[in-house]
Symmetry: D2
Subunit: 353 residues, 4 copies
């Protein structure tokens, strides 16, 4: 039995995480924190949890958490997260961090994109990126895992096998992603008010979204190590390709959850869809949560699951991959539980099927 | 006063067309046809029209229609449409055809994409494509106008000015379009049943959608005539560029109406978003229904209107245009009324603002 | 040509009102006000208005408005509205007030339900309630009209003819209403954030909603004057029934717009659905915006229109009426334009069909 | 380990059932049937099941099913279901029937409402109604359980405790229910096409819905036995109240799943909401899936769960109860698994929390 605490319990990823962990036979949720001043019961914050979890939100006190928990999931925003994760790591806890704080391996890049200095720069290079399909072995032994961004998960899972096999160019990739509104979080904003975004799909932040460097960094690592072994596939110490460039266009889609990513890349030689499908299928043959198929996916195929569905087409000499995930599950809390299972030696699929 | 008949009155484009025409002070709707055997009142087919239009659906009889109407809007499917339009044109009526039958100027291309021989091939080369922003002068004097496809409208309006100015390459364009479900029509299909497509965005028919050749053909005409005059801009007789190639990826989006098209193209030289915005704004300066802005659009900005909103970005050396239309209005029935107004000498915006 | 100003231009009813008035051939919109400190252009506040109206929001200055406008539509919240309407009325302008300030005819009742003293109590008894179907003659000559609440419109239009004819009891009415989310306004609230209310229907404020006394008051007037003449039907001076009692249950429904009201009442004698349908149809025979039918309505039948659709059933000795309106049109801005047309002598349906 | 077969595998309730059973540690799904002629793999019919269940749909052959399965869940339509259930029961299998075939205890009533003679009338009186909260003891020992209708579940769970306690009258109950579109099934119908029912709430079949007699029958049983013991609460052999009468109004709501039922009943004496809440809470104190609260529920609070949330208000002398369930879970497949768990001696909540 592992005792876990969740930092930042009032948002949608925390809610999803709690629901998953309530199904986990080896987990006891011992604490939920919030930066709110009052200490509401979790069922007041998330009515769907009434009768299912009897905890109130409390301020995040590292000392107290370290006494009570073995593992912490941080659903805090960037910067706020590293601040407290640092002190929990120093006290020996294991941490799965949902924020972007430990995803980039370079403090300068972090400062550029997140407009703040990193508070824990020394750890950056040693933290595995929490995509088990690519970094499983590093995750198993890590004290801290950087849970991936939702968009990067959908993009990287579709492109990595083809890049890794040298079948597509690492530059000139157009990544067109469509996300459900829960991806924007639970903060009050006009743009996510129901009558604003219902019945409307809109583009936002094209070229400027913070998931861009994250996608490029992970794809660069992969492009540099096409011959990496199949298990524990990528070695973060190897030199990365330097010229990965993506155009990333996120879109807000009128649905609660789900990300569909249509990515356009350039093949390095003549290829067929059948051939690429076979490469993808072989890459993910033993993966419990990636499904490669001929059929073009929709987000409903994976809704409320930890699956990522992928299909590929070749059109006029271009490779078009389509991938679907649930942004709250494989794009956040499901991936976090998958990482947790690896870090604590549980079966990787526990609570996820 | 112009007497109009509508062929194929039971679908969504016909409903939208009727609503627009009911606001047109110079139009009298005299007949609605349907291939159904019974002759239901239009209010049984479209309850929202109760008390607004007192007509029953009737079989399409060219003789009778020619007696009663000056203009026919055909909302029939391809092949069925040309069959009857042909005989109406021979009787002297003016026709706005919503089907794809007269959009491609080449019978072989039609046969390839629509899997049937064209029944009226001789007219193909002389029919203007009903985008007033590009072919206004030809439309004014035409007896028959090919009303554009919804996806092509959204793609072409965003790309044409840049292609025409020689600022982007005519090849290697990725056109990623997201359409509301009304675009799939009112036929009973599992894929458009509410619980199938609600809360889900899905890709379909990537590389194989019939709007692909239509987009390529119109863009080719435009690419060949970069120096065309601003009014009556394009001359269909001029040789077209031969190497326009697009990758077209349509997506089904959980909303009633709207198309958002994000298109990725390659600039021919170093450009900035500000420069391209200026080119777009200049191109559409006198257009009543195209709005160019810095702000990235959403489909709700244009819902139930005849507007097309366009914005442009330059990201990592790529041009990204985003355009939004209402697929049932600017993408179908609004464009048809705009064409009708031009063909009959009414103010182009009548019933559309 | 009538010059109009709109107070409180940033909300959804103002947006709908502007769209309607832009179609009105006899209206010029001269001013839009807002309590915001900056003075944004209306297209920044409502992107769908780009290119359609070139005005910026300004602070509401009665003096200046009186100079420039003949009529003011106030979309301000209660209390704030009467405060400024009062001074505009004193300056001779005509006013259509969207707030609840002038709907109740008794300051005490207002104070009870709105938790504030009324600032203009003397006018209360003389202001007609802006339902032309019931109070047309009073509206024609009024300087100030109290535009009805959205829920009351849907409930009263269905019940008034049956009450007026003495066919149902004035007590023991259960009014179960389902509203789209735009009815909750554009203020930032967690309950109307997309991921909170999408894919969910919820009950709220049962028994405590402020539209309850408004429904009861209007129904009481009607119950007391069953023999009123058909035109200018109700005389506010006649003694009202005192014992009207409704149970009003509002529900938040996952859609942008629309109200469906299912009301349960008790017949005063044996009745049939056919008989009641006939009574309703006769009552509304000459009304341009009320449609009585056998078919049970849905809100989509009336979306973006000024229509109210009504059907009735008799089940196990109970009368069940179902009525559908668009809360932003017949439930707010469409009714306001209808009232405006009456007040200024324009055709009542101008800009509304 | 229990071997189960599912009859009628292509619909939404079957899909939900499969997902639940895949989480059940003591269940092996051995067969899925369909009346389709081809034998598609289940992943072709339900893409979300790809990689999770490797079975193809087969014709329903009682002999073969009896050899392979211990329990059958029938998701077939009425009449078709009893036809095959009968022969499976004769072969000794246990059956949970989702159809209405065994819910009414009287063949004449069945024939009246379902317009067909019952094929297995002798079993009718002995089949427990599968609401464990009311009939748990009978379910434990049954060979066949009639899984409740979705609407009746939501109505009965809210009203039964108050009726049973003699606090509300058994007549004059208005039951106003709002259901998500999945409740209409997966058959192709115009009314459930996305563009027809999206953004629209509509009433249908008021007074004529087949769930009406089911609600009345179960409420009548309960009204007759107010002093029944708390466990195995109701004894089907006792004489039922004869004068239960409900007005039942179903509404189609634009969401995938969920039912919200607002029911209006008449108290037998002066009551308060607090008192009624206490009665409800006491009644369901030990129930794992019913949550009584002060807060008015929404369907999202229970989405994808087996919970029923209930709140109560007293308004102007009327009792208003509001209950929320997921129509596919507590209203169908979750209840079926709950019944299955009871019939086979598993913990009642297995696979449901």
């Amino acid at each position: 039995m592992t005792r876990v605490a969740i930092l930042g319990g009032s948002g949608y990823t925390a809610l999803e995480l709690i629901k998953l962990l309530l199904r986990h036979p080896e987990v006891e949720i011992v604490a939920l924190t919030s930066r709110q001043e009052d200490r509401p019961h979790i069922a007041e914050v998330h009515p769907s949890l009434a009768g299912r979890l009897d905890l109130s939100l409390e301020p995040a006190d590292p000392e107290s958490l370290a006494d009570r928990a073995d593992c912490v999931f941080s659903c805090l925003p960037h910067a706020a997260s590293a601040e407290i994760c640092k002190s929990l790591l120093d006290r020996g806890l294991k941490v799965v961090d949902f924020s972007a704080d430990y995803r980039l391996d370079c403090p300068e890049m972090f400062a550029t994109w997140y407009a703040t200095e990193h508070v824990d720069p020394d750890r950056l290079t040693e933290v595995p990126y929490g995509l088990p399909e690519l970094f499983r072995e590093q995750i198993r032994t890590a004290q801290l895992v950087a849970n991936p961004g939702c968009y990067p998960t959908s993009a990287v899972l579709a492109l990595a096998p083809l890049l890794s096999a040298g079948l597509i160019e690492p530059t000139d990739m157009m990544i067109d992603s469509k996300s459900g509104v829960s991806g924007a979080g639970r903060a009050l904003r006009l743009s996510t008010l129901y009558p604003e975004c219902n019945e409307s799909i809109s583009a936002y932040n094209i070229g400027g979204h913070r998931h861009t460097p994250e996608i490029e960094l992970i794809l660069a690592k992969i492009a540099g190590i096409a011959d990496a072994p199949a298990a524990g596939r990528f070695d973060a110490q190897r030199p990365a390709a330097t010229d990965v460039e993506v155009v990333f266009s996120p879109h807000l889609t009128p649905m609660d959850r789900g990300i569909l990513t249509t990515a356009y890349s350039r093949p390095t030689r003549d290829v067929t869809a059948a051939e690429l499908t076979e490469v993808l299928a072989a890459f993910y043959r033993d993966e419990p949560f990636v499904r490669v198929a001929d059929r073009l996916p929709g987000t409903k195929d994976v809704a409320t699951t930890n699956f990522c569905d992928i299909a590929v087409r070749v059109v006029r000499g271009r490779v078009v991959t389509v991938s679907a995930i649930d942004n709250l599950v494989k794009g956040a809390s499901g991936a976090a539980v998958q990482n947790f299972n690896l870090m604590f030696g549980y079966d990787e699929t526990t609570a996820l099927l």
